[in-house]
Subunit: 691 residues, 2 copies
Amino acid sequence: MRLASTTAVAAVLGLAAGPVSADEGMWTYDNFPSAKVRETYGVTVDQAWLDRVRGASVRLTTGCSASTVSPQGLVLTNAHCVIECVQDLSTAQADYVKDGFLTATREEERACPGMQAEILTQISDVTDQVRRATAGKAGQDFVRARDAAMAEIEKAGCGGDATLRCQVVSLYRGGQFKLYKYRKYSDVRLVFSPEYATAFFGGDPDNFNFPRFNLDMGFLRLYENGHPAATPQHLTWAARAPKEGEVTFVSGNPGSTDRMLTVAQLETQRDLIIPVGQLQRAELRGRLLQFAGENAEHKRIATDPVTGLENSYKVFFGRQFALNDPAFLQAKRQGEAELRSKVAANAALAAEIGDPWGEIARAQTAAATHFVRYRQLETAAGGGSVLFNYARELVRAARERTKPSAERLPAYADTRLPLLEKTLLDVKPVDAPLEQLYLEHWLLKTREYLTVDDPAVKLLLGKESPEGLAERVVAGSKLADAAERRRLWEGGLAAVEASTDPMIQLALRLDPAAREIRQAWDAEVAGPTDRAAERIARARFAVYGDQVYPDATFTLRLSYGKVTGWTHRGQTLPWFTTIGGLYERATGAEPFALAPRWAKAEGKLDKSIVYNFVTTNDIIGGNSGSPVVNARGEVLGAAFDGNIHSLGGAYGYDGRINRTVVVSTAAATEALSKVYGLNGLVRELTAGKKR
Amino acid sequence: MRLASTTAVAAVLGLAAGPVSADEGMWTYDNFPSAKVRETYGVTVDQAWLDRVRGASVRLTTGCSASTVSPQGLVLTNAHCVIECVQDLSTAQADYVKDGFLTATREEERACPGMQAEILTQISDVTDQVRRATAGKAGQDFVRARDAAMAEIEKAGCGGDATLRCQVVSLYRGGQFKLYKYRKYSDVRLVFSPEYATAFFGGDPDNFNFPRFNLDMGFLRLYENGHPAATPQHLTWAARAPKEGEVTFVSGNPGSTDRMLTVAQLETQRDLIIPVGQLQRAELRGRLLQFAGENAEHKRIATDPVTGLENSYKVFFGRQFALNDPAFLQAKRQGEAELRSKVAANAALAAEIGDPWGEIARAQTAAATHFVRYRQLETAAGGGSVLFNYARELVRAARERTKPSAERLPAYADTRLPLLEKTLLDVKPVDAPLEQLYLEHWLLKTREYLTVDDPAVKLLLGKESPEGLAERVVAGSKLADAAERRRLWEGGLAAVEASTDPMIQLALRLDPAAREIRQAWDAEVAGPTDRAAERIARARFAVYGDQVYPDATFTLRLSYGKVTGWTHRGQTLPWFTTIGGLYERATGAEPFALAPRWAKAEGKLDKSIVYNFVTTNDIIGGNSGSPVVNARGEVLGAAFDGNIHSLGGAYGYDGRINRTVVVSTAAATEALSKVYGLNGLVRELTAGKKR
């Protein structure tokens, strides 16, 4: 089914290089197509509406979206956006992932390690400043100059205000640079998360499918100075269910799309980058599943990792088979040819733009040469080991901080250090058996892909085996202790280089080879590509005007659409499920087993209430937890998934079959009250509600 | 390294649809290009030579090649061709995989379960008979008529002689049909296998790489009526090392190549068939590796499965990235276009051939629709579970045997039953934990790919989970007991349908859905493809004459070449390694640890002896264990691998860089004598040897 469906998606996708189709687009707040929405749906989205919804939209630095839903800092998101926190707060004695995390009072709310919440307050255009810095530069010089300019603008934008975060965002793949200013909240606490069996009912098999029956909803609270933050600008909770055809807006942070990549780049994704990633993910998945089956404690600690990995796996599965459909790439080729011929027809434009497509095509040779090494030694180094990441960040940051901010690797510029420091120093449990598994897997794959006789592999392993080395460095490392991390962070390069911690030593050993391949990648792949992409963006603006939206960048976007089902190959899927459907689908066997509270509450619940529903909104990973609001700005639910047809969404959108999957606030109200007895939470949510 | 290399291979491959390049080809014994060999190498291969080498060439039904090397039925093959047998003969108390299997007397030689050895005695052309049977037929009718005719010819060819096996082989993808008659040996016993650390030194990381240091050599003995079989027609053992430039012939059974597939078929391989298989293999590999790390007994029972799976994985890894190279497919496209234009230029030929390329291209749509279901329910059903395979064969055979032979599925025709019966009824240990792992993995993937709501998935699982079902049917099955299998085999359909064995019941439940998808595949994919491929073969004969060789079919072939290293990207690899190199490469950590016997024998060995060497012979999986013989018919070693550049060999051959990797008989003589003290075996090998 899945493969056939993906194929079908590809065959019908519009994939236009220019004007977008109905309901398509992840629009920036400063370029939202209000006129088109009014024309299509008769709904007015004015600046006040935009300001109100933007002010209630929350970005979680852990990779999700959310919204404020009470004046006391209460935040609605997905259960799968807080599961890492729930797992961190759990122990072998208290498994909140399995049992749910419920709080009756503020005192029971607990801080989520490493999590920061951010609310966008201002967007300003800084394109010219960045362009001036990069003028006439190429390759690695281009990358360095651009990154330094961006860090400089960020620093100037927020000054030393610790409650703000400034971030320069490259939109339209270098076509625009915007300074995004955020109000930030570093103390985010967990208020509620349902049982795993409830939030993830249907598990991986039902993920990205529909019908669905998931209370994939979690609540957080923003704190300031130890007290709940005041958030007067919040959304109104709609306890009523949505209606078919109702207009919906999704305000959130889509993580990444590749809709503007050239065909040459898509071919590299198809032929090399995605397959290599997927093969390694599949093998790691096998290891984790087997590990989880070994005993109850392994199952407990592996629940979040397995869930996360299986989700990524499925996302890239969809991307791989979308790109593997020749009809899909053919449509992309046509779009590209159309844009190029329009450019060629305008002599002045053609002279200005040059041949960025050719430049990008040529960079693919370098990408093919460097990709595996770049992946294994740099972007995927450590294979997911938390301890290795700590070690690598401590080593890198220590070395980088000896230089002026503008000369550092971009991740270590002054404006980036506060979040890095929080991530590094927050207290967080570390599961040694998982650490060993990740590290061993990474070392095995690195040896496999680079071969035994590669100098970097010899440097990593010496005479040890991947298994032996992983075991030794995990057993010997003290980096699970936040105090030790703080000591090394504050001690700087001298402390790091003097450390006898075997994980630090491993990271120190790898660092030169990792920097070398990063430099080659920047000089031969990223630099040429980014320089060329900027000119393609300029061409697109020149030809199609500004009625295009940028690829997703994990920054705030607004999409519009409506509540409706879909028809595919003669089968019509309804737009909603009900609470009653959950009981019909339950088999008693995981992942289709009911949580005990739900089994017990069956008689009390209104089974006709809309549980999950679908809309035509154009979203992608990172949008998880986004509020789905109606024209009045009421929150109807939290987006938590896409349907199977949306898996090719990284490359294109088809409003006929792409759907966003939402858990309704109506079902949440019913469940919080009748299943969980959390009437205080329900009162807070519905306090200001208009019926 | 590997990806880059694969890319490089593809870019330079000849990939001609017609005339072959130097040293290319897996030639049938009745069409060996002796004239070309004489012209190229000045060596004469006459009929007497061919008859002698053919008569000493052995096929092992377990998927390998071998050769007789003494008059008393002694057979040389690879250690990796006997590892399954060694694993079957081992127990938790006696681990011959780890420690090696050594015999001092005939009495210690032990039968290998399920293994049959076959020596080709005669080839005759039956193309016309098959053609007459299929004339005017299409789709499933075509497949059925062809299969029935083949089974009929086999039956007529061997009569009831239990010492013979007759097999009709489709060569050139239906271009020719030949009857291959074999002398068969059903009692094959294990004589010698080295320690795993010796045979597989370097393990998966070094597999398909060079330099290598592997004693990947095993000895078997053919028995008849409880006594060693007389094999007067055997190869002479060369205790001397080969020389650089020496002409070499490899006589063995290459399993499968896809060099004659059309571009449309290759695209389906690239876009669908290989990626799906690899993703599932990768996940299973992860599970097995994690399983093997759980404890010593799991490691023991998983050694052979892990080795086999990792080898398949690497083979398809090479194929995937060869096909993912656009230059590679471009070369294939050119070859196809050339053949088509030559056909078009000949009106009579064009009229006869029609448009088989178009027919095959259209069959790809059906392939895309059916492939995943066909794979999960039919070709890969059970996921490798031995018990499930027993159950499925018992169920299928019971149903099929109620019909006349010609109306059965081809695998159950009368001539195919003796080997099936042996495979089913030989006593063989079954490892329940592995069974459960395989079955669970298969059920999980089947649910994942076909979705929860698919009727076949519902039929398989009911309300159970894959984990629960796998555990229950493995725990409850009695099929590990050969007597129970015999009871069901002999009891036929009544016994099978009355069985309460849960594995039998699972197989009974699946069978109708599996047959249904097989039928759809035959009717819409296999039938149209085979019919069209036959005409492409005819076109190729008409255009290029008979100086082409057929794709590999696990039947006896002869390839020619010479001993020589290779140069790639400025790096020259020498043609050989020495025993001394083994000690230099050893690290003490698996898979680079020496077996204790080898560590102890270091001082006694002549370290200058050639250990492994490479030749230009064109081989592929299935050739493992093939004798590598010189012009005088002396065996210089056993082929056991290809180099990294040979991984694209399924689709083409490049004599500049494709190499066969061989373990030398010279090193074997030294090791058998000085490491293992098996002087009796050495005497038997070298008894008739000419120095």
